[in-house]
């Protein structure tokens, strides 16, 4: 066997990675071969040199920089959840307040209906419904029922109809856009 073939086996032996039987073989060969003794000695020196340098401590500032970056990143990852939770809370509160207000006002509400065919590009003209409108059924103190009534005019296919519902509260106006096709009203 050429001494070149022993190099990797010696490398394993010097690092303590050779199996017992192989270690015995390498020991026997190295004891008889001057060239391989030099090789084994050089191998020990180079491994020692690398390990010695590897064990030199690094500057603490490098570790501190990594820690600071990681903690900052984790805080950034957490922040959107906090913002979102705050926003969700705000929205939920607003919705709850609106529902509460509308429930309190509901029995007092008087609804009048007007229905007008929406002009093409201009604002909707509002025609107040007469008080005795059969399309609106108002029970005393009970819930208000709204029933849509067909307009008397002749229908065009796919005509757009804008329904405006007015309440006693001037700030509350409900618009309802519906498309009428054929005989039915699709909305």
């Amino acid at each position: 066997m050429n001494c070149k073939d022993w190099e990797e086996r010696i490398a394993l032996y010097v690092g303590g990675d050779a199996a017992p039987a192989e270690a015995t073989e390498v020991e026997r060969h190295v004891s008889e071969c001057a060239g391989c003794q030099v090789f084994a000695s050089g191998m020990k020196q180079s491994m020692g040199l690398l390990r010695e340098e590897h064990e030199e401590p690094l500057d603490e500032a490098h570790y501190a920089a990594v820690r600071a970056r990681v903690i900052a990143e984790i805080r950034t990852e957490r922040a959107p959840w906090r913002r979102r939770a705050w926003l969700c809370g705000l929205v939920a509160g607003a919705v709850a307040a609106l529902v509460l207000v509308s429930v309190r006002q509901a029995p007092k509400k008087r609804v009048e209906i007007a229905r007008v065919a929406a002009p093409q590009a201009s604002g909707a003209a509002v025609v107040p419904a007469p008080n005795a409108n059969p399309g609106v059924d108002r029970g005393p103190g009970g819930p208000t029922h709204i029933r849509a009534r067909r307009p008397m005019q002749r229908r065009q296919p796919a005509e757009t109809v804008l329904v405006k519902l007015e309440t006693d509260n001037p700030d509350v106006v409900i618009y309802w856009i519906a498309e009428r096709k054929g005989d039915g009203m699709n909305d």
């Binding site: 190099e7 990797e8 086996r9 490398a11 394993l12 010097v14 690092g15 990675d17 090789f39 050089g42 191998m43 020196q45 180079s46 491994m47 040199l49 690398l50 390990r51 010695e52 340098e53 590897h54 030199e56 401590p57 690094l58 500057d59 603490e60 490098h62 570790y63 920089a65 990594v66 820690r67 970056r69 990681v70 903690i71 990143e73 984790i74 805080r75």
Partner: protein, 188 residues
């Protein structure tokens, strides 16, 4: 594992607190393992800025996987595996050459200029010799000879067999030895 002394009870407690959102506990966990992660990344990547980026990525992965890692018996093994994988991804993306000039000075820079020069020379030899190796040989050598893991542990970290790791280590050692001999012969 030889590189980081582990006390599983303490670690599990700290990891549990960190998982519950305690940042101070997570920082403690980082302090316990930061040397292992940063120095391994430095040997694999060759420059300190890339190594810091890799360490950051490793610890962020740790934070995201605290639930899995908390129960893992081989915590250091998990960290080594993630470090090797992150460094592999970084090298593949950047394809950057290893800059020996970027090697940081050690914390205990010697006052004696001769000692300091010797230290700088050792650092240079270490980095240049690691550059000679293939990525797999380098990872095997760093984990086995520099970090002190057994061949079985290295095989588990690298997802390989012990026979393959032994072959990689022996080839790497021969290459490093030849480089060191040539380097010093030229200098003399």
């Amino acid at each position: 594992m030889a590189a980081a002394v582990e006390r599983p009870d303490d670690r599990v407690r700290t990891a549990g607190a960190a998982k519950a959102g305690d940042l101070a506990a997570f920082e403690t966990l980082m302090r316990q393992h930061e040397r292992m992660v940063l120095v391994t990344a430095l040997r694999l990547l060759g420059n300190i800025e890339d190594a810091k980026d890799a360490s950051q990525e490793v610890f962020l992965k740790l934070h995201r996987n605290l639930g899995k890692v908390e129960a893992a018996s081989n915590f250091s093994g998990w960290l080594y595996r993630v470090t090797v994988n992150v460094c592999h991804d970084m090298r593949r993306k950047s394809k950057a050459s290893v800059a020996v000039e970027d090697m940081p000075e050690p914390a205990s820079a010697e006052d004696d200029p001769h000692q300091s020069a010797a230290g700088a020379e050792r650092r240079r030899v270490l980095q240049l010799s690691l550059r000679l190796l293939s990525e797999k040989e380098r990872a095997a050598l760093v984990l086995r000879d520099l970090e002190g893991l057994s061949t079985g542990e290295v095989a588990r970290v690298l997802g390989s067999t012990e026979a393959t790791v032994r072959s990689q280590i022996s080839k790497a050692r021969v290459k490093v030895r030849e480089f060191v001999e040539r380097y010093f012969r030229r200098r003399v």
